[in-house]
Symmetry: C2
Subunit: 128 residues, 2 copies
DNA sequence: CAAGTGACTTGTAAAATGCAAGCTACTTGT
DNA sequence: ACAAGTAGCTTGCATTTTACAAGTCACTTG
Protein backbone atom coordinates (compact mmCIF):
# COMPACT_ATOMS: atom_id res chain seq x y z
CA UNK A 1 0.00 0.00 0.00
CA UNK A 2 1.16 3.49 -0.83
CA UNK A 3 1.79 6.13 1.75
CA UNK A 4 -0.63 9.02 1.79
CA UNK A 5 0.82 12.24 0.45
CA UNK A 6 0.11 14.03 3.71
CA UNK A 7 2.55 11.92 5.65
CA UNK A 8 5.77 13.60 6.59
CA UNK A 9 8.51 11.92 4.70
CA UNK A 10 12.24 11.91 5.30
CA UNK A 11 13.24 8.35 4.57
CA UNK A 12 14.88 6.83 1.53
CA UNK A 13 18.14 8.67 2.09
CA UNK A 14 18.08 9.01 5.82
CA UNK A 15 18.25 6.63 8.75
CA UNK A 16 15.89 8.67 10.88
CA UNK A 17 14.17 12.03 11.13
CA UNK A 18 16.82 13.32 13.53
CA UNK A 19 18.58 16.39 12.14
CA UNK A 20 21.96 15.23 13.42
CA UNK A 21 21.55 11.82 11.80
CA UNK A 22 20.44 13.44 8.53
CA UNK A 23 23.51 15.66 8.42
CA UNK A 24 25.73 12.67 9.15
CA UNK A 25 24.08 10.79 6.29
CA UNK A 26 25.45 13.49 3.99
CA UNK A 27 28.79 14.56 5.48
CA UNK A 28 29.41 11.85 8.07
CA UNK A 29 32.74 10.41 6.97
CA UNK A 30 36.44 11.18 7.16
CA UNK A 31 36.73 13.07 3.88
CA UNK A 32 33.65 15.03 2.87
CA UNK A 33 34.14 17.90 5.28
CA UNK A 34 37.82 18.10 4.33
CA UNK A 35 36.69 19.00 0.81
CA UNK A 36 34.22 21.53 2.18
CA UNK A 37 36.96 23.01 4.34
CA UNK A 38 39.19 23.38 1.29
CA UNK A 39 36.40 25.17 -0.55
CA UNK A 40 36.17 27.59 2.37
CA UNK A 41 39.92 28.09 2.09
CA UNK A 42 39.49 29.23 -1.49
CA UNK A 43 40.45 26.04 -3.32
CA UNK A 44 38.44 25.15 -6.41
CA UNK A 45 40.27 22.57 -8.52
CA UNK A 46 40.82 18.84 -8.28
CA UNK A 47 44.55 19.25 -8.02
CA UNK A 48 44.24 21.79 -5.23
CA UNK A 49 42.11 19.46 -3.12
CA UNK A 50 44.51 16.64 -3.83
CA UNK A 51 47.47 18.74 -2.70
CA UNK A 52 46.02 19.30 0.79
CA UNK A 53 48.12 17.91 3.65
CA UNK A 54 45.66 15.08 4.30
CA UNK A 55 46.56 13.57 0.90
CA UNK A 56 43.13 12.29 -0.01
CA UNK A 57 43.14 9.38 -2.50
CA UNK A 58 42.06 10.58 -5.92
CA UNK A 59 39.26 8.08 -6.42
CA UNK A 60 37.71 9.10 -3.11
CA UNK A 61 38.07 12.77 -3.98
CA UNK A 62 36.34 12.20 -7.33
CA UNK A 63 33.53 10.31 -5.58
CA UNK A 64 33.04 12.96 -2.91
CA UNK A 65 32.88 15.76 -5.46
CA UNK A 66 30.12 13.85 -7.25
CA UNK A 67 28.18 13.22 -4.06
CA UNK A 68 28.48 16.81 -2.91
CA UNK A 69 27.27 18.01 -6.28
CA UNK A 70 24.37 15.54 -6.27
CA UNK A 71 23.43 16.73 -2.79
CA UNK A 72 23.43 20.34 -4.00
CA UNK A 73 26.21 21.48 -1.70
CA UNK A 74 28.64 22.36 -4.48
CA UNK A 75 28.40 23.37 -8.11
CA UNK A 76 30.72 22.22 -10.87
CA UNK A 77 31.61 24.78 -13.52
CA UNK A 78 33.60 23.98 -16.64
CA UNK A 79 36.13 26.62 -17.57
CA UNK A 80 37.27 24.81 -20.71
CA UNK A 81 35.84 22.07 -22.89
CA UNK A 82 38.70 20.11 -24.30
CA UNK A 83 40.06 18.52 -22.27
CA UNK A 84 37.17 19.11 -19.86
CA UNK A 85 38.39 21.10 -16.89
CA UNK A 86 36.16 22.24 -14.08
CA UNK A 87 36.16 24.27 -10.91
CA UNK A 88 33.99 23.59 -7.91
CA UNK A 89 32.17 26.17 -5.82
CA UNK A 90 30.04 26.05 -2.71
CA UNK A 91 26.36 26.72 -3.17
CA UNK A 92 24.66 28.80 -0.48
CA UNK A 93 23.46 25.52 1.01
CA UNK A 94 27.01 24.24 1.11
CA UNK A 95 28.37 27.47 2.50
CA UNK A 96 25.81 27.18 5.30
CA UNK A 97 27.88 24.31 6.67
CA UNK A 98 30.34 26.97 7.83
CA UNK A 99 29.13 27.06 11.44
CA UNK A 100 29.74 23.31 11.73
CA UNK A 101 33.36 23.78 10.65
CA UNK A 102 33.75 26.74 12.99
CA UNK A 103 32.40 24.70 15.89
CA UNK A 104 34.86 21.92 15.08
CA UNK A 105 37.73 24.36 14.88
CA UNK A 106 36.86 25.86 18.24
CA UNK A 107 36.61 22.46 19.89
CA UNK A 108 39.94 21.36 18.44
CA UNK A 109 41.73 24.54 19.47
CA UNK A 110 40.57 23.98 23.02
CA UNK A 111 41.11 20.24 23.36
CA UNK A 112 43.73 19.09 20.88
CA UNK A 113 47.22 20.38 21.61
CA UNK A 114 49.18 21.48 18.59
CA UNK A 115 46.50 22.23 16.04
CA UNK A 116 47.42 25.07 13.76
CA UNK A 117 44.86 27.82 13.84
CA UNK A 118 44.21 29.33 10.48
CA UNK A 119 43.97 33.00 11.24
CA UNK A 120 41.24 34.42 9.04
CA UNK A 121 39.16 32.35 6.71
CA UNK A 122 38.02 34.29 3.66
CA UNK A 123 34.30 34.21 3.01
CA UNK A 124 33.81 31.72 0.21
CA UNK A 125 32.71 32.43 -3.33
CA UNK A 126 29.16 31.19 -3.74
CA UNK A 127 27.59 29.90 -6.98
CA UNK A 128 23.95 28.88 -6.97
CA UNK B 1 66.73 9.85 14.65
CA UNK B 2 64.47 11.17 17.36
CA UNK B 3 62.53 14.37 17.02
CA UNK B 4 63.62 17.19 19.25
CA UNK B 5 61.25 17.82 22.12
CA UNK B 6 60.74 21.40 21.02
CA UNK B 7 59.03 20.40 17.80
CA UNK B 8 55.34 20.91 17.70
CA UNK B 9 53.73 17.54 17.58
CA UNK B 10 50.26 16.51 16.49
CA UNK B 11 50.97 13.39 14.53
CA UNK B 12 50.47 9.72 15.20
CA UNK B 13 46.71 9.98 15.48
CA UNK B 14 46.04 12.79 13.08
CA UNK B 15 46.35 13.24 9.36
CA UNK B 16 47.33 16.88 9.62
CA UNK B 17 47.50 19.79 12.01
CA UNK B 18 44.21 21.17 10.74
CA UNK B 19 41.63 21.44 13.52
CA UNK B 20 38.82 20.27 11.26
CA UNK B 21 40.81 17.23 10.16
CA UNK B 22 41.72 16.43 13.77
CA UNK B 23 38.10 16.52 14.86
CA UNK B 24 37.15 14.31 11.93
CA UNK B 25 39.85 11.84 12.96
CA UNK B 26 37.93 11.40 16.22
CA UNK B 27 34.27 11.77 15.32
CA UNK B 28 34.33 11.62 11.53
CA UNK B 29 32.07 8.69 10.79
CA UNK B 30 28.39 7.82 10.55
CA UNK B 31 27.93 6.62 14.13
CA UNK B 32 30.12 8.35 16.70
CA UNK B 33 28.13 11.57 16.86
CA UNK B 34 24.89 9.58 17.06
CA UNK B 35 26.14 8.19 20.37
CA UNK B 36 27.14 11.66 21.53
CA UNK B 37 23.71 12.95 20.56
CA UNK B 38 22.07 10.20 22.61
CA UNK B 39 24.19 11.15 25.60
CA UNK B 40 22.95 14.72 25.19
CA UNK B 41 19.41 13.35 25.13
CA UNK B 42 19.96 11.77 28.53
CA UNK B 43 20.67 8.20 27.48
CA UNK B 44 23.36 6.33 29.41
CA UNK B 45 23.09 2.57 28.83
CA UNK B 46 24.04 0.24 26.03
CA UNK B 47 20.45 -0.81 25.53
CA UNK B 48 19.25 2.78 25.32
CA UNK B 49 21.73 3.65 22.58
CA UNK B 50 20.81 0.48 20.76
CA UNK B 51 17.11 1.36 20.91
CA UNK B 52 17.60 4.66 19.04
CA UNK B 53 15.77 4.93 15.71
CA UNK B 54 19.00 4.61 13.73
CA UNK B 55 19.37 1.01 14.99
CA UNK B 56 23.13 0.97 15.31
CA UNK B 57 24.72 -2.49 15.08
CA UNK B 58 25.79 -3.70 18.52
CA UNK B 59 29.40 -4.45 17.64
CA UNK B 60 29.85 -0.95 16.25
CA UNK B 61 28.20 0.56 19.30
CA UNK B 62 30.54 -1.37 21.59
CA UNK B 63 33.52 -0.24 19.52
CA UNK B 64 32.49 3.41 19.50
CA UNK B 65 31.95 3.45 23.25
CA UNK B 66 35.49 2.14 23.70
CA UNK B 67 36.97 4.70 21.33
CA UNK B 68 35.07 7.56 22.89
CA UNK B 69 36.26 6.49 26.31
CA UNK B 70 39.85 6.12 25.11
CA UNK B 71 39.64 9.62 23.61
CA UNK B 72 38.40 11.01 26.93
CA UNK B 73 35.05 12.16 25.60
CA UNK B 74 32.98 9.84 27.76
CA UNK B 75 33.42 8.07 31.07
CA UNK B 76 32.25 4.54 31.87
CA UNK B 77 30.86 3.95 35.35
CA UNK B 78 29.92 0.53 36.65
CA UNK B 79 26.75 0.46 38.70
CA UNK B 80 27.01 -3.27 39.47
CA UNK B 81 29.81 -5.82 39.36
CA UNK B 82 28.30 -9.14 38.45
CA UNK B 83 27.34 -9.26 35.72
CA UNK B 84 29.24 -6.06 34.94
CA UNK B 85 26.82 -3.31 34.03
CA UNK B 86 27.87 0.21 33.22
CA UNK B 87 26.53 3.62 32.37
CA UNK B 88 28.25 6.13 30.13
CA UNK B 89 28.51 9.85 30.73
CA UNK B 90 29.95 12.74 28.78
CA UNK B 91 33.08 14.32 30.17
CA UNK B 92 33.33 18.10 29.96
CA UNK B 93 35.45 17.57 26.87
CA UNK B 94 32.74 15.43 25.32
CA UNK B 95 30.00 17.84 26.31
CA UNK B 96 31.96 20.58 24.55
CA UNK B 97 31.00 18.92 21.26
CA UNK B 98 27.54 20.39 21.84
CA UNK B 99 28.00 23.37 19.52
CA UNK B 100 28.87 21.02 16.67
CA UNK B 101 25.60 19.15 17.15
CA UNK B 102 23.68 22.41 17.43
CA UNK B 103 25.22 23.66 14.19
CA UNK B 104 24.25 20.41 12.47
CA UNK B 105 20.72 20.66 13.80
CA UNK B 106 20.34 24.20 12.56
CA UNK B 107 21.64 23.34 9.12
CA UNK B 108 19.30 20.35 8.85
CA UNK B 109 16.26 22.31 9.98
CA UNK B 110 16.94 24.84 7.27
CA UNK B 111 17.87 22.56 4.37
CA UNK B 112 16.37 19.12 4.94
CA UNK B 113 12.58 19.03 4.71
CA UNK B 114 10.86 16.90 7.30
CA UNK B 115 13.43 16.68 10.08
CA UNK B 116 11.86 16.50 13.47
CA UNK B 117 13.11 19.26 15.72
CA UNK B 118 13.67 18.15 19.25
CA UNK B 119 12.29 21.03 21.27
CA UNK B 120 14.59 21.49 24.24
CA UNK B 121 17.63 19.41 24.83
CA UNK B 122 18.40 18.99 28.51
CA UNK B 123 21.91 19.98 29.55
CA UNK B 124 23.80 16.73 29.93
CA UNK B 125 25.10 15.18 33.12
CA UNK B 126 28.87 15.55 33.16
CA UNK B 127 31.34 13.19 34.84
CA UNK B 128 35.01 14.03 34.75
C1' DC C 1 13.24 -23.91 36.69
C1' DA C 2 12.17 -22.19 32.11
C1' DA C 3 12.06 -17.98 29.82
C1' DG C 4 13.65 -13.35 29.56
C1' DT C 5 16.83 -9.28 29.84
C1' DG C 6 21.09 -6.44 29.41
C1' DA C 7 25.45 -6.03 27.62
C1' DC C 8 28.31 -7.64 24.96
C1' DT C 9 31.45 -10.82 21.55
C1' DT C 10 32.14 -13.58 17.45
C1' DG C 11 31.69 -14.97 12.55
C1' DT C 12 31.07 -13.88 8.09
C1' DA C 13 29.43 -11.34 4.07
C1' DA C 14 29.11 -6.80 1.97
C1' DA C 15 30.79 -2.24 1.35
C1' DA C 16 34.11 1.45 1.73
C1' DT C 17 38.83 2.80 1.60
C1' DG C 18 43.77 3.11 0.16
C1' DC C 19 47.34 2.61 -3.14
C1' DA C 20 49.31 2.18 -7.54
C1' DA C 21 48.80 2.48 -12.19
C1' DG C 22 46.73 3.95 -16.47
C1' DC C 23 44.47 7.18 -19.64
C1' DT C 24 43.36 11.46 -22.34
C1' DA C 25 44.20 15.82 -24.12
C1' DC C 26 46.70 19.49 -23.95
C1' DT C 27 51.30 22.39 -22.70
C1' DT C 28 56.04 23.23 -22.29
C1' DG C 29 61.08 22.66 -23.04
C1' DT C 30 64.88 21.82 -26.43
C1' DA D 1 58.61 18.37 -33.85
C1' DC D 2 59.09 15.30 -30.49
C1' DA D 3 59.75 13.83 -25.69
C1' DA D 4 58.46 14.94 -21.23
C1' DG D 5 55.35 17.03 -18.26
C1' DT D 6 50.62 18.43 -16.17
C1' DA D 7 45.59 18.25 -14.89
C1' DG D 8 41.88 15.57 -13.97
C1' DC D 9 40.19 11.69 -13.70
C1' DT D 10 39.13 6.19 -13.92
C1' DT D 11 40.24 1.32 -13.04
C1' DG D 12 41.89 -2.78 -10.52
C1' DC D 13 42.92 -4.94 -6.53
C1' DA D 14 44.30 -5.60 -1.57
C1' DT D 15 43.09 -4.11 2.95
C1' DT D 16 40.03 -2.34 6.25
C1' DT D 17 35.62 -1.21 8.06
C1' DT D 18 30.73 -2.09 8.43
C1' DA D 19 26.46 -4.74 8.67
C1' DC D 20 23.68 -8.34 10.09
C1' DA D 21 22.79 -12.53 12.52
C1' DA D 22 23.75 -15.43 16.05
C1' DG D 23 25.78 -16.78 20.36
C1' DT D 24 27.38 -16.07 25.28
C1' DC D 25 27.17 -15.00 30.21
C1' DA D 26 25.22 -13.91 34.48
C1' DC D 27 21.63 -12.68 36.58
C1' DT D 28 16.12 -11.74 37.19
C1' DT D 29 11.37 -12.66 36.90
C1' DG D 30 7.05 -15.57 36.45
Amino acid sequence: MKKSSTEISIPDDHRSACPVACVLDIVGDKWTLIVVRDLFLGKHRFGEFQASPEAMPTNILAGRLKRLEAAGLIKKEFYQDNPPRAEYFLTSQGAALGPILIAMREWAERYIPGVVLVANIPSPEIRD
